[in-house]
């Protein structure tokens, strides 16, 4: 409960049907100040906008939604502001640095202006794009060709000026990415170098923007599951889980215990293989190629297991709303054991090579530091935040799927440098293994889906055996799961941090709006400030250690 906020704005604040605090647009900055200073809501989870064009009952067409967490990270509150016809609202970037990019995204996707924003320009769509694609009246398939990339000098020159650098004579400008092996995909960072020192850096994203959120609006809830695979494709199943979890929250259903345990087991396995790729890649960037084989090969054995379980190596689509597509197979436990052993060996071999390795220490320690306060203000989460020593892990702070009953430790760093981020991930691999082993021991028997026939498909023998089963199957496949009207946010601890979905449903089988809270979006926003003042070789490692996955970053 945000006490001070409710007292201070007793008259002005109202609570809407879905539990969000509603406030007049002119009060937003004041309200956030009170929430920040007096109630300790210091963590901006995410921001988004809603276009109510097709919901005639709404008074205003657009609303902005702010999601905040308190100091303990366990409570989330939603603040909702209607935007009037000027389509402009105060920027909160002066209070939360993380709002800078979030507001740019809203401007880009919805065309809502933020007053006093330091740099309000498009972020996901390209420079030549006309219109705002997430508005309900923008046709989903209307693509627009881009002929030329942005040279980014419009951002670089003022930024250099703010740093007191007027003349560009002594500088060399360099693009790191978007087509560069160390940019891990499609991320572009434009830097101004003075010899090898980065004086100024600007990141540009959106090269892998593939319209996830718009696509969600014309697919049924279960059809969206494959799209979620491709957000963070290094741990596809965790994305499946996060999405299904959010929808199940709106439906108000609790999964059978067996389903919850399977989600824990497969989810943790995904977390492990996600960390494996991240660690393998950063060690390659460092020139320690051998470790790539040590860390990547165990991933192959997990692929074998996942292929048997789900039919796919990478993009598994294993989860469904209300459970999962099918139960574990016979012999799963043995295969799991093989995987865990392979991972153990790979991690052990790697650590033998690097743990006491002088080169590794020199390259990573005290490099790419981000302080606790800065990290929280920039909404970092997951291993990146824990590396700074902030004890925030949703599995602990707001447990779900019985996480409170598992015995595991939260890995924390102390400095917040590249070294800590790497080591936290190594430790989390170990801890995930502990969780999996406990979950396997306690794995109960029973169903893997809720029994409600308006949510999960009936067993095959019923479909072929009686008319009711047939009808259930037919209706569910053709119509999809109907989700009651709601606006809600729910998150899990993804491999990269807080992975949540803000879903606006309207009673139909398709969501009215979906917004992901992609953990690495905020990590990437912090990246330029981390690397400025450092050497160019360190910038590469900083990027690798943040584990930016373009699919989830750009959506």
């Amino acid at each position: 409960m945000p006490k001070a906020f409710l007292e201070r704005f007793e008259k002005e604040v109202s609570i809407d049907a879905y539990g969000a605090y509603k406030l007049d647009a002119s009060l937003i900055l004041q309200a956030l100040h009170v929430l920040y200073q007096n109630d300790g809501y210091t963590f901006l989870v995410d921001m988004t906008a809603i276009d109510y064009l097709h919901q005639p009952s709404a008074l205003r067409r657009f609303a902005i939604v702010y999601l905040l967490r308190d100091r303990l990270f366990s409570n989330v509150i939603t603040l909702k502001i209607d935007v009037d016809e000027t389509l402009a609202i105060d920027s909160i970037a002066s209070l939360f640095k993380s709002a800078n990019w979030a507001e740019r995204e809203i401007w880009d996707q919805y065309g809502i202006h933020f007053k006093n924003h330091p740099n309000l320009k498009r972020i996901l769509n390209h420079k030549e794009f006309i219109g705002h694609p997430l508005r309900k009246d923008y046709p989903i398939t209307q693509g627009q060709l881009c002929h030329k990339s942005d040279d980014l000098m419009d951002e670089m020159t003022p930024r250099l000026k703010r740093k007191g650098i007027e003349s560009h004579d002594a500088l060399m400008f360099l693009n790191l990415g978007p087509a560069h092996p160390a940019s891990h995909g499609t991320i572009r960072t434009f830097v101004a170098l003075e010899s090898e020192t980065i004086r100024c850096a600007i990141s540009e994203i959106g090269y892998l923007h593939r319209g996830f959120e718009k696509s969600c609006e014309n697919h049924t809830y279960n059809q969206i599951i494959p799209y979620t695979d491709r957000l963070n494709y290094c741990s596809a199943i965790l994305n499946n889980i996060a999405f299904a979890h959010a929808v199940e929250g709106i439906l108000g259903i609790e999964l059978p215990d067996r389903a919850q345990f399977i989600r824990v087991i497969i989810g943790e396995l995904s977390r492990m293989i996600d960390h494996l790729v991240c660690l393998a890649a950063i060690l390659v960037d460092m020139g320690a190629l051998t470790n790539y084989w040590y860390l990547y090969n165990p991933r192959e054995s997990v692929y074998d297991l996942l292929s048997k379980l789900t039919g796919a190596r990478l993009t598994n689509s294993y989860m469904r709303i209300g459970g999962m597509s099918h139960d574990l197979y016979e012999g799963f436990e043995h295969d799991l054991h093989v995987c865990l052993k392979a991972i153990d060996t790979g991690v052990g071999d790697t650590l033998t090579l690097i743990e006491h390795n002088r080169i590794f220490h020199d390259r990573t320690q005290n490099v790419g530091i981000i302080s606790q306060e800065e990290a929280i203000n920039r909404s970092l989460s997951g291993p990146n935040l824990r590396a700074c020593g902030v004890a925030y892990d949703l599995r602990v702070n707001a447990p779900y799927y019985h996480y409170e009953s598992f015995d595991f430790d939260m890995a924390l760093g102390s400095v917040g440098d590249v070294y800590d981020r790497i080591m936290v991930r190594f430790e989390e691999i170990r801890q995930s293994k502990r969780i999996i082993e406990q979950a396997m021991k306690r794995l109960p028997q029973g169903a893997v889906c809720v029994a409600d026939r308006s949510i999960s498909l009936p067993p095959k023998h019923e479909v072929y055996g009686n008319i009711e089963g047939l009808m259930n199957q037919f209706k569910l496949v053709f119509e999809g799961v109907k989700v009651p009207p709601s606006e809600s946010y729910r998150a899990i601890e993804g491999a990269n941090g807080e992975l949540g979905f803000f879903i606006v449903s309207d009673g139909s089988p398709k969501p009215y709006k979906v917004k992901v809270r992609p953990p690495c979006f905020y990590a990437m926003a912090a990246y330029p400030s981390i690397i400025e003042g450092g050497m160019i070789a360190d910038a590469i490692l900083s990027l690798g250690s943040l584990n930016i996955i373009a699919g989830e970053l750009d959506r």
């Binding site: 390209h126 989903i140 693509g143 060709l145 087509a179 090269y207 593939r210 319209g211 718009k214 990547y296």
Partner: protein, 172 residues
């Protein structure tokens, strides 16, 4: 009865055309540039590592400079924003060069039929081999490589390649 050089030197000499000799050498030493943007690129990581081991086919020297590569593997979704960059990379590669379009996205936009995604890279650069899958399995990548080798074996570089004209949506 053998004539010409073979008549004089016997089995110790094989005659061929310069072009086939070049192609033969090239086949087993392709240097790929992996334009990996998304999930498909993660599968390429598997292709390059020990289990599938692309070096069995001579193509393990992955180059990240287009000037040093002769095989462009486009693995991943290409957005409109990315398109000019892909084209630039392709243009920077020296002839002769080949292109593999790997995965549903690169071939056709995949299931991203929306405002951001280019509906197939062949709208901007020419493609030699298409690979199905979302993502393609590592074997499919290898299969595509073999298909490229086959193309090379049948092709007359200097004639066929140089004469090829392509005009895409980003060519003025």
């Amino acid at each position: 009865m053998a004539v010409g050089a073979e008549a004089i030197f016997g089995d110790s000499v094989i005659t061929s055309t310069l072009e086939s000799a070049l192609s033969w050498a090239r086949e087993s030493s392709m240097w790929p540039y992996v334009f990996g943007t998304a999930c498909c690129a993660i599968e390429f990581m598997s292709v390059a590592s020990s289990k599938y081991d692309i070096s069995r086919f001579g193509a393990e020297v992955v180059r990240f400079s287009p000037r040093q590569a002769d095989l462009l593997i486009v693995a991943g979704t290409i957005s409109y924003k990315q398109a000019p960059i892909l084209k630039k990379i392709y243009d920077q590669m020296c002839e002769p060069k080949w292109v593999i379009s790997a995965g549903a996205c690169a071939c056709s936009g995949g299931f991203y039929d929306n405002y951001t995604t280019l509906q197939g890279i062949d709208a901007i650069i020419p493609v030699d081999v298409y690979v199905a899958g979302c993502p393609p399995r590592p074997e499919a990548f290898l299969d595509a490589l073999l298909a490229i080798q086959k193309i090379q074996a049948d092709e007359r570089l200097l004639d066929d390649r140089a004469k090829r004209v392509f005009k895409g949506r980003l060519d003025a």
